[in-house]
């Protein structure tokens, strides 16, 4: 099992599993190519690299992290046309965030979807929003995405 940290990414081949732990407002993007059984995951923190003080880690941002992950997967032998995506996270952990930052989780989800759309990667499942944390596991045997949380039943997409 490969553990992807915050603002980190990884690519793996069958039968290795990839996981990222404790997603709150961050978004976990899992991409999978069924034909070659290559999967990838990125844990993005922010919607966009624009206006960022430090731009040296593409995996931190939705608009750079997803193209970066795609590139890594293609380099490993995945076929772009076969890659499909599933996303999870983007929660709003505390209901009264009064400041103008609004809902960072929701903005991360929107930016993630835009980025996938731009790259023409179909989004086939999502488990986003609400107010709880998620741990996700991508099984590269079959492309299943397992979503675990502290209090809810485990879900499989």
């Amino acid at each position: 099992m490969i553990i992807v940290g915050m603002a980190d990414s990884a690519v793996a081949k069958k039968p290795v599993k990839i996981t990222t732990l404790g997603l709150g407002s961050c978004v976990g993007v899992a991409m999978y190519d069924k034909s070659s059984c290559i999967g990838g995951m990125v844990h993005v923190m922010l919607p966009s690299i624009e206006n960022a003080r430090s731009k040296d880690n593409p995996a931190k941002f939705a608009d750079t992290g997803i193209p970066y992950l795609l590139e890594c997967m293609i380099r490993e032998g995945a076929a772009k046309s076969a890659i499909k995506a599933k996303i999870a996270g983007g929660a709003r952990m505390f209901s009264f965030s009064s400041n103008a930052q609004l809902n960072i989780g929701e903005r991360n989800v929107t930016a993630t979807k835009e980025s996938l759309k731009k790259l023409r990667i179909p989004l086939i499942a999502e488990d986003t929003g609400e107010n709880y944390g998620r741990t996700i596991i991508l099984d590269t045997e079959n492309g299943e995405l397992i979503v675990k949380s502290a209090l809810k039943e485990q879900k499989i997409y």
Binding site: G5, C26, G105, Y132, G133
Partner: protein, 223 residues
């Protein structure tokens, strides 16, 4: 004066990052111990007020001072998927930062039992959640007021936010907020143990670099 480097995992990267936040690695021995002492006093006061409230002895460990890459904070605070009862507050005023109280489920339950007398309390019901929230608020309140007194600074804390969830999920919006401006943060990690079995919690303090400079300037002025 002898220079000490703060404990850090990726020394080379940390070094690069620290330059960006103002050469935190070059804390003198005096500065590093003064910082620890200040946090220790604050945490000491906080824990005393909790101890009075629940009528149990609480012991604390000397705080650990770490320079940590923001993305690594959940790991170094106990693991991103560790489920805890967490209370978060912002510190605002002359310095900016965050204070978090993280309790294991059993500790949160024990505190509820001590205060309400309820056996096997459900820490997810509103009353108990609000109780834990208030305990966190009292802790952070005395922490911040002792910091403010000691440093002669004007500080206040936000209302507490409580939830029971994975540690990474509880704190990631804070880390996102901090990561807009800095790559590294100063992290004070204090473990406290409440008399009795398996009751322990962590009080976590995060400051941004500007605030740290402010605190250091006050220390310089005092010596």
């Amino acid at each position: 004066m002898k220079k000490v480097r703060c404990q850090a995992r990726e020394t080379k990267n940390v070094y690069r990052g620290i330059q960006m936040i103002g050469r935190m690695d070059e804390l003198t021995e005096l500065q590093a111990s003064a910082l620890k002492e200040i946090v220790n006093i604050g945490v000491g006061n906080a824990v005393t007020s909790l101890s009075k409230m629940i009528g149990k002895k609480i012991s604390i460990e000397v705080p650990e001072l770490k320079v940590e890459k923001i993305e690594k904070v959940p790991e170094s605070a106990g693991g991103a998927d560790t489920v805890v009862s967490g209370v978060i507050m912002y510190v605002e005023g002359d310095i900016n930062g965050y204070i978090m109280m993280l309790l294991s489920r059993s500790t949160a339950e024990a505190i509820c039992t001590i205060i309400t007398g309820e056996n096997s309390p459900d820490i997810l019901n509103c009353m108990n959640q609000s109780l834990i929230e208030e305990v966190g608020h009292i802790l952070a309140g005395s922490y911040v007021s002792s910091l403010s007194e000691f440093l002669g600074m004007n500080l206040k804390i936000s209302p507490p936010m409580q939830t029971y969830d994975m540690l990474g999920a509880i704190m990631d919006h804070i880390l996102i907020e901090m990561s807009r401006n800095v790559e590294y943060t100063l992290l004070f990690d204090t473990f406290f143990t409440i008399e009795g079995n398996r009751m322990e919690g962590i009080l976590l303090t995060l400051f941004d670099s500007g605030s740290m400079q402010g605190i250091l300037a006050r220390i310089e002025a005092m010596v």
